[in-house]
């Protein structure tokens, strides 16, 4: 395995205060993820999956330890600096799609680049192309409320790829979809990921989905219970 981690987690600890007590959600985690690989984080409810994803993506600061994303130590950055990193290198896919209800599908996809200050005319063509790739070229001007769950998640996937992220974080991407639609979305996600050469970090309850990744990190009570390579070929596919 080439040693080129895009994400490096060192001694990561996160505590939350509840009343007069501290609750330790994550305890001294250490792992790294190589660029271009796919990795699933699984575990039962309350095991700390979402907290870990948030810390890895720079959405929150750890209590102790460090997250290095694309070589940048996230803990030392201000929120706005972290926002800039996210905007440039990170893509997100959420369980509840998280589309802006007042924007059309096309406008939703353009948001990350427009936040960067790019003009509509500069980003429109890429957004349209991505919506074409996810099969929504006939839904460009529809609002989220006019789209089905599967269609909304396709828009979310197109939005996740618009900024050509180096790493993509997906939180239960099929959790709110029926099996058939879920499978379609899974395929779309992995195909695009492969096509764009992006690193994928995926949080899921769904073991069958997790097993489609090259590596599975299993969490239990805030610690890494198991870290195994499922498919060396998948893990290495982009590094070869």
């Amino acid at each position: 395995m080439a040693s080129n981690p895009i994400l490096k987690v060192t001694n990561l600890t996160k505590k939350f205060r509840s009343g007069n007590h501290d609750i330790t959600v994550l305890k001294h985690l250490n792992f790294s993820v190589e660029e271009g690989t796919t990795c699933a984080i699984v575990g039962p409810s309350g095991s700390g999956k979402t907290t870990l994803l948030g810390l890895c993506a720079g959405l929150d600061r750890p209590t102790a330890g460090e997250v290095k994303l694309n070589g940048v130590k996230m803990g030392r950055l201000s929120e706005d600096e972290r926002a800039k990193i996210r905007n440039e290198y990170v893509g997100f896919i959420f369980q509840n799609f998280q589309l802006v209800p007042t924007l059309t599908a096309l406008e939703n996809v353009m948001v990350p680049l427009e936040l960067r200050g790019m003009k509509t005319t500069e980003v429109k063509r890429d957004a349209e192309k991505l919506l074409f790739d996810v099969g929504l070229d006939d839904r460009l001007h529809h609002y989220p409320s006019q789209l089905s769950g599967g269609e909304q998640q396709r828009v979310a996937i197109a939005r996740a790829f618009i900024n050509k992220p180096k790493i993509l974080f997906a939180d239960e991407p099929t959790g709110n979809l029926d099996t058939e639609t879920g499978l379609t979305i899974e395929k779309l996600l992995f195909d695009l990921n492969e096509d764009k050469g992006t690193t994928l970090i995926l949080v899921s309850h769904d073991l069958s989905l997790a097993e489609k990744c090259g590596r599975i990190i299993r969490l239990k009570n805030g610690a890494i219970f198991e870290d195994k390579v499922v498919d060396e070929a998948k893990l290495e596919q982009f590094n070869s």
Partner: protein, 838 residues
Amino acid sequence: MAWRDARSNKKRLFIYVSAIIIGVAAQVAITSFRDSLNHTVDNQSKTLLGADLEIETEQSFPEPLTAYFDSLGGEQSTVIQFPSMVLFPQNGGTRLSNIRAIKGDFPFYGILETIPQKAAHSFQADKAALVDQMLMIQFGIEVGDSIKVGQVTLPIAGAITKIPGESPAAALIGPRVIIPHSVVDETKLIQFGSRVEYKRYFKFDSQRNLLAVETRLDSLQNDLGIDIDYETVAERKEELGEVIGNLAKFLNLVGFIALLLGGIGVASSIHVYINRKIETASVLRCFGASSNQAMNIFLIQAVVLGFAGALVGTLLGIGIQYFLPGLFSGFLPFDVELVISPFAIGMGLFTGTGVALVFALLPLLALKQASPLYALRKLEGSITSLLSDKTKAVLYAAVALAVFGYAALLTESWLIGGVFTLGMIIAFGLLLLVAKLLIKLVRKYFPSHWPYVWRQGLSNLYRPHNQTATLMLSLGLGMLLISTLYFSRDMLMEELEFATRDDAPNLVFIDIQPDQNQGLNELLNENNLPVLQNVPIVTMRLDSLRGKSTDAIDDDSTNNVSDWALRREYRSTYRDSLIDSETLVAGEWIGRVDSGDGPVPVSAAKEIADDLNLEIGDSLTFNVQGVPIQAYVASIREVDFQRVQPNFFMVFPAGVLEPAPQVFVTVTRTPNHKISVSIQQAVVKQYPNVTAIDVSRILATLNEFISRISSAIQFMTLFSIITGLIVLASSITTSRFQRIKESVLLRTLGASKKQIIKILSVEYLFLGVLSALAGLILSVAATWLLGYFYFDITFVPNLWVIVIGTLLITALTILIGMFNSRSVYKKTPLEVLRLEAN
């Protein structure tokens, strides 16, 4: 259950009712203040008149009347009241004043307050004058200086600070100067044509039967053929009670608008709240709760919250009452004794609770219709979509009926209540229409190439459950009320000022005796001032109309002529041609006749022709100071009475009235204030009985008056604005969850804090600008209609009112919006995942 559910939403629910609090506070403050005024009038009733009885005539009391006065006994005091110029020899200042020459101890009740106080008792014996404090300050005069009234120069014994029964604002119209009755003749001011009121005040020891006195005065009026007016304490009380009632009704309606806005705020908040609570209600239904039980949980919440809001509002209203005397003191003839009114408290509690209940009905009834299935499947769209159109129509009608009933109760008039309700429905409907139209237009024509934050801020207005239209309605209504008030005031003042522009007359001399007329005109010419008009005035009364005596017409209850027009003293002129403020609308203008040629052809102004129901050819008999003159209506004129110049109801042709006793009026124009003051001083010195009316001073007085009235109304309109802002704050709280979700999502996607703040600012900027515009558009339309139909003035909107109004409303909206959203942009992006997890 209602309590258990409410306790977790205490903060959110409290803000729902703050709109009710303000509305109720406005109502309670006004009603309580009205009751305090009435209480004061009851307590100080005798002070208001200063005596038990006042008798007034326009000429010196004839012998039979003084004989009757003597027979009445009791304590008596005589007051002669007339307008005249006064002059301060110290600095040459002159001012048209209201002179009262007092003999006796008037006022018998209440205290004539002066500085020093002893001056009020000693001025008659010391042959000194008392002068309005405001006038003394204006001219830099002090006690001990002197004042010239007509031909008499008197030392000033004291400054008048308060006359019982008179409002301080009376001094604005004519500053009061009190002199001893004994010097009236020496002033030589009372001459033919002078407008003088002769008053006799009585104080009776015992309970006098004033009804018998009134009957006797009526018969003396008929016997003597003069007008005898009288007023008792009860009549003055009734008169004041009516004024107070009308003032309270008007202000209560303005306050009621705030309450209605509060109601709309509650309706909209409860709507959003219940929309979110539908899952809870459905789960309860799944566990066996009946539809009524599910509804009752939230019904109880609405009623309890309404009552709590009403209670706080009532307490606040009682507190606000203590600030109201300051606003109205200029107009009140007494010091208000503030009382806590049980009626106002009861009304506040009832109204607040009622409004909360009535305006919450729609979503509550919809909740009753909600199927338990919504525990499993999310309801798409608004909860009110569950109600049929028919049910909604019935509910809206019920709300309108409740508003109508309450407005009628407030104004004690079904008609006013109806007009108010209809006006409100139209205003609300139009505002909503304009608001929606503006939102639609902005969305349609918004430049798509504008930067992202601008487009995102704008699109936030279309966020589900954002209450954009409601917000625009409440903020826009506040804007509509305030700007209409400003526009109307501006329109009236512009029109008045227009009359003084260019070569329009600005100085009028009245009460010029025939032997002074030529001299005064020459004085003007010597000072290079033009004599724009110099007209004779002959006073007369109407004796008969169409062959029937005025008394007979007056006694006939079926007569269709105005009593005022029948009984008034006509100050007519004669001339051979029409002037430029007059247009003939009917009949033939006859400019000259020879006396003895039969009935005189007169020309009537359209206004008086309407009041007397005159037609061309109708016969009239005028009593010209004892001499009957037969006349007929030869023509009817349209007269522009707004011009600063003498205009007349009745114009006689030349050749008839020349020998009659008459006075003259001269109109001139002075180029500036300095020359105006110097010519007034010169005229007063040479002709002390001549009165100068300075138009610019009248305008300044009117402006002052309108400003004072406006500030009182503005104070009440302020409640509407505050309510609008509370609705804004409450709506932002209501949609806070959505905002957090959106901004956190954007932060997750890489938006900086600055970008989030910009997006929110743009949203509030659009909200403020659109609300202000909606209110302004309607306000301009309303003022234009008011000008066109009521004042007969073409309204040109003042750009500054529009610009400042829009800026103010927008700034307030942004300020309150950003203050209430401060937690939104402080949330960390991790929230988005937490919200997911929840």
